[in-house]
């Protein structure tokens, strides 16, 4: 998987070339070459501390909010390296949205939670319409249509997470990054989010980091398996990348098979 086909440049939603990420002098992620396909769900799996979330956050430059992080290599979005000095990270994040591990709605009304992002990004259309359609896309409209004025924090955990998804959708991104979106939710809420992800994949490219291998197998089209390097430096590396079905049935590498069958991690 280390070589990138030249055709991928045109078809991939996001593509990385030799992406390495450092926390201070510690190399957390080493030489990742990955092409994410559009309108697919790509799962990133791997043991704790292998840099899954770090890679995900590199896709919309969220790592930069941590002062000591340094990124090398390229991340191509629409054929352009988003780490070039003249690229504004704010613009990148507007196109590549994010849903976090713990539901984090703003302490504002449900309506305002969805509308705010669109408003600051200069949305001029019918805001009620946008809020309605975003909540509908996030499969939340029926549950909250009578309490749009209530605080987003008054919803249940699963509803809050879907509100966060609606909020991300409302700014019309191309890609939605999800960092273990179900790890704080109960199984039923998890199931709803997974169904929602399948629906959203028709319109969006979704990249999801998950600890839960069944989840990766259930929802994703493609799976990238990360693990720590075996040279003792504990840097995260992309071990194997391919169709989810193949990965979970006939992994190429021994280490992938060991992880998937639960022998480590």
């Amino acid at each position: 998987m280390t070589d990138t086909a030249p055709t991928a440049t045109t078809t991939a939603a996001i593509e990385t070339h030799d992406l390495s990420i450092y926390y201070g002098s510690f190399q957390a992620v080493r030489d990742v070459n990955l092409d994410i396909q559009p309108n697919r769900i790509t799962a990133i799996i791997g043991p704790s501390g292998c840099g899954k979330s770090t890679v995900l956050r590199a896709f919309n430059r969220m790592n930069e909010l941590i002062p000591s992080v340094n990124t090398t290599g390229e991340v191509l979005f629409r054929g352009q390296n988003i780490y070039k000095p003249d690229v504004d990270p704010v613009e990148v994040r507007r196109h590549i949205g994010m849903v976090f591990q713990k539901p984090n709605p703003f302490p504002k009304s449900v309506y305002e939670n969805v509308a705010w992002g669109a408003r600051i990004n200069g949305f001029k259309g019918n805001m009620d319409e946008l809020v309605h359609s975003s909540l509908q896309s996030a499969a939340l409209w029926d549950e909250v249509k009578d309490k749009l004025d209530q605080s987003g924090l008054s919803l249940s955990g699963g509803q809050q997470q879907r509100l966060c998804i609606a909020r991300a959708i409302a700014v019309r991104p191309d890609i939605i990054l999800m960092d273990e979106p179900c790890s704080a939710l109960d199984p039923i809420a998890t199931l709803r989010i997974e169904e929602l992800m399948r629906d959203l994949a028709k319109d969006y490219t979704i990249i999801i980091v998950t600890h839960n291998m069944q989840q990766a197998a259930r929802v994703s089209d493609r799976t990238a398996f990360f693990s720590l390097s075996e040279d003792g430096k504990r840097a995260g590396m992309l071990m194997e990348y391919g169709d989810t079905k193949t990965m979970f049935t006939r992994p190429e590498k021994k280490i992938t098979e060991d992880y998937i069958t639960g022998r480590f991690g």
Binding site: N60, P67, R94, F100, F106, R167, V171
Partner: protein, 405 residues
């Protein structure tokens, strides 16, 4: 064996519990002693002697308080010097004064009640009969009254060297003016500095030095700030703080010892406290909110303005209240700045001379006549009341902000 050990651990826990309870009781006793001390001086018997008895001023057996205005003016004119009468006429023509005002003037200048002796609240309550006998023997012309030194006249009247008519009006207004200027200066500057340090400043050596210095400044004795204020605001910036530069005051007499200098000095004094408290409040805003905001393509400024500040504002207000509570009781820096200890006219603006409540209290307690100590007690109650009012207002404001989130 294990059980006996457990008993020992429980006993240790109980010992510490007792220690904590004793500490609390000591604190409460100290607070009660303070309150008792203030209340003891603020209420009690006074023996009052009239220089001229009101009955002797009655005209044709119509009592003084029922006379019409013209008669009252005549009585006043007959009993005071022509110069004083002319001054009153100059201050406000008698034609424009109401009968009540003239009556008050007669009480003040003609009847002229004098406090010949006063007693504390404790003495009044425990030893009333003895006090009555003592007054009957030593001051046969005096009447004994129970007096609250904190009364509406006390609040409305300006400072005076006669304890009978002295009040705290100028001091209260002076305190309000200086505190307002301090808040207007320190709140925006402090919050802005806190936002910069917390949200923008990179973690490097310079910023760490700045942070350490702010923390140290919060512990600097207030008199040092007074010296700073004297050097900078009174002397160097005297042209501005006196109002001469704005043509607001007379260059021949004005100097920098004004409300503006005092307010700015108090502002500088509370600035480190406001910065530190605001930083703590901003720090307490969960990082997940910032991430959510950035994740939607918000700029740092939008994140700060729409999410960080609204969530931190109640904490920032609490910190500001605490800082202001400290500033309103400050005396030392204002003495250095040059607060007037005796001033009878209301402050009219930032370029006025001023006095403040703590200065007034200090000045009264320093007087040799014991009656001024009772005035100081009353003024202390006013200061406490002012403080409680401000705190209550701020808490209500804070809760309103919190609810609107």
């Amino acid at each position: 064996m294990a059980a006996s050990n457990l008993q020992g651990r429980h006993r240790l826990g109980r010992v510490w519990l007792v220690v904590f309870q004793v500490a609390l009781v000591v604190g409460i006793i100290a607070l009660c002693a303070l309150l008792f001390n203030i209340l003891n001086g603020s209420f009690g018997f006074v023996a009052v002697e009239d220089t001229v008895s009101p009955e002797s001023l009655a005209v044709n057996s119509v009592p003084l308080e029922e006379l019409d205005k013209d008669t009252l003016v005549q009585i006043l004119q007959a009993h005071i010097s022509a110069g004083l009468y002319a001054r009153y006429e100059f201050d406000k023509p008698f034609a424009e004064r109401s009968a009540g005002e003239v009556y008050d003037l007669i009480l003040e200048r003609v009847v002229e009640p004098r406090f010949v002796a006063q007693w504390s609240l404790y003495e009044t309550l425990t030893n009333g009969d003895a006090i009555r006998q003592q007054v009957a023997q030593e001051f046969p012309n005096a009447r004994l009254e129970f007096r609250s030194w904190l009364n509406s006249h006390f609040l409305r009247a300006p400072q005076s060297s006669y304890p009978e008519i002295a009040g705290v009006r100028t001091a209260v207004l002076g305190s309000l003016w200086t505190i307002s200027i301090a808040v207007l200066f320190a709140f925006p500057v402090g919050v802005a500095a806190a936002v910069y340090l917390q949200e923008y400043a990179p973690d490097n050596l310079i910023n760490r030095i700045i942070q350490t210095n702010i923390n140290n400044l919060a512990g600097v004795p207030s008199i040092i700030y007074g010296i700073l204020g004297l050097a900078i605001f009174v002397r160097v910036l005297g042209q501005f703080t006196s109002g001469i530069a704005f043509g607001a005051s007379d260059p021949a007499t004005a100097n920098g010892r004004t409300i503006l200098s005092a307010g700015l000095t108090l502002g500088v004094l509370v600035l480190p406290l406001i910065i530190i408290n605001a930083q703590e409040a901003i720090k307490a805003v969960p990082n997940s909110l910032r991430q959510a905001s950035f994740g939607l393509g918000a700029t740092r400024w939008e994140t700060v303005w729409y999410h960080v500040l609204p969530n931190a504002i109640s904490g920032i207000m609490t910190g500001t209240i605490l800082s202001i509570s400290r500033a309103i009781g400050e005396t030392a820096p204002l003495i250095v700045i040059g607060a007037s200890t005796f001033i009878q006219v209301d402050p009219e603006g930032p370029f006025s001379k001023f006095t403040t409540l703590p200065i007034q209290i200090y000045q009264w307690t320093a007087r040799p006549q014991s009656v001024f100590r009772n005035l100081a007690g009353g003024a202390s109650l006013v200061l406490l009341g002012l403080l409680l009012t401000m705190n209550a207002t701020a808490i209500i404001l804070r809760n309103r902000y919190r609810r609107s989130l």
